[in-house]
Symmetry: C2
Subunit: 117 residues, 2 copies
């Protein structure tokens, strides 16, 4: 059931960082850094989980979940993350859109069949 | 630059429906219905755009953007969408997590380099 691909988030409210991105061709160190960022994010205060996928054309969506906006801001200021973000802008991403959102409602399925949203 | 993969959303606030899902094996009518839902969603009041991707293992994330929670609720009640959602629960998805979130901040890049988040 690939449960490890889904974030085990608590009941709302909490925050989501929605990162949609188009990779450039070639790795240029991306893979190792991406793995490291997932590992490092999980160690930050307020981290709740992450969901991430990318298709063969290099279009990816990563959503990370956080307890508060302050936790997101702190992760943004993390030194190693800041270096990775600059590599992203310079080398890895053709384009990206980042959105910070407050999760207000959530449900899962199919087990939750019939429950309201 | 694959701009068509990104939603051209207005300045926040607006709403996001974050739908993370694991497909089962086999199409079972999924592809045609998914295309139709994208087409139908775009005709609904308050629709702002959609971003969607899925990897080779069948793990997908689709984020649709809407002006208001009322627009999301109306789309949820759409008859054709309701039938598709039931097919999703019965046939297409091994598991999914759906979250409704209010987008509070957004920025894109790399062009927006140096701008705050």
């Amino acid at each position: 059931m690939s449960a490890e691909r889904f974030a085990r988030t608590p009941a709302p409210p909490y925050y989501a960082v929605i990162f949609a991105n188009q990779r450039r061709d070639g790795d240029h160190g991306y893979g190792a850094t991406a793995d490291r960022m997932v590992e490092l994010a999980a160690q930050q205060p307020g981290y709740l989980g992450i969901e991430s996928t990318r298709d063969a054309a290099g279009f990816g969506i990563t959503v990370s979940y956080w307890e508060s906006e302050a936790d997101i801001a702190a992760w943004r200021r993390n030194a190693e993350h800041s270096v990775a973000r600059q590599h992203g802008r310079d080398e890895w991403y053709e384009h990206f859109e980042l959105r910070v959102a407050k999760v207000e409602r959530a449900y899962g399925g199919p087990a939750a069949r019939g429950e309201g949203a």
